[in-house]
Symmetry: C2
Subunit: 189 residues, 2 copies
């Protein structure tokens, strides 16, 4: 993989735009209020289809450049038809992609050229929880492990610092390792 190496683009990150965005938010903190959304429609059994398109950010309603759709399902061993990954697998994908995007941005800001970022995120779950068979077992992951391989034109110590900073600023890491209040509103009409 080759990436343009000039002052404004490193690791495919437009660092000038990155710093301009930081300055813009510093000048007008309210611009940092975002709301992301996912819509979902049940298809059959454990199979549903999610749609991601519109969001609010930087002061206005926006849409992605195209509409993204993703099916989710359970595999046969979990009484589904495997039309998509399980919902919990999407959580792992979210964590991997969040840490990776942060790595690229932080490395670019620090003048480090990355050549490879690969990861495997694994989550251990005991289905005695969601099956209601053991009240002492939680429903979600008991632990998640991220194994990252990071290569670039900096010593290992610097690369590890970038990983640590990416973790420290990762939205998805925070959602998973912290607690987010979730409200559920139901319409049956």
């Amino acid at each position: 993989m080759t990436t343009a190496l000039d002052d404004s683009t490193r690791n495919g990150v437009d660092t000038a735009a990155l710093f301009a965005t930081l300055d813009a938010v510093k000048a007008a903190p309210a611009a940092a209020a975002f709301q992301f959304r996912a819509r979902n429609e049940w298809i059959s059994g454990t199979h549903s289809r999610g749609t991601i398109n519109e969001y609010f950010g930087a002061g206005e309603e926006r849409t992605h450049e195209r509409v993204f759709q993703f099916d989710a399902d359970h595999p046969a061993v979990l009484v589904g038809r495997d039309n998509g990954p399980t919902p919990v697998e999407f959580v792992l994908h979210a964590l991997a992609s969040c840490l990776t995007a942060g790595l690229a941005n932080i490395a670019a800001a620090r003048g480090i050229q990355l050549t490879q970022v690969r990861s495997t995120v694994s989550g251990d779950i005991d289905l005695n929880g969601i099956l209601g068979l053991d009240p002492t077992v939680r429903n979600g992951y008991q632990r998640i492990t991220v194994r990252l391989t990071v290569k670039g034109d900096a010593p290992a110590e610097k690369l590890r610092e970038i990983v640590e900073q990416s973790r420290a600023r990762s939205a998805v890491y925070d959602v998973i390792s912290g607690q987010v209040p979730v409200a559920i509103e139901v319409d049956t009409d």
Copy 2:
């Protein structure tokens, strides 16, 4: 949408298989130990590609019926190229699809025929957190709101009970609203 209405399949859920799975796990609780995984490869900037295929469950290594791949990116307003949803949007999709799958299973187990499940999950986030501009602002979602429309051949009260039970047994709800320990291991060789 029409769904077969016989004793063993309701809402597209093979209830006989569902109860057989419950009995199998009751008889051998260790079969409930699953490990899900997502692999990720950085492409450029905030753009990465996730791959979901192999997992461990019910005592053995398994693979999905096909390899699922999903790109993630930031939109231009967040200094990306919009090649995919943002990582935090995948979290919302995971929550919607998890609650929906649970609804279908629980309704089937209770003999209720669903005709529609639609949802919009929205997450509010203040980017002053991940931009490092305000140490009092968290990196992740400050709150998530799920708006569900559920229709079926049961009174509203019963449908609401099913939603509550789905929430109470949702793995993704638990991950988001609880705290999951996350370990990060870095290889720079």
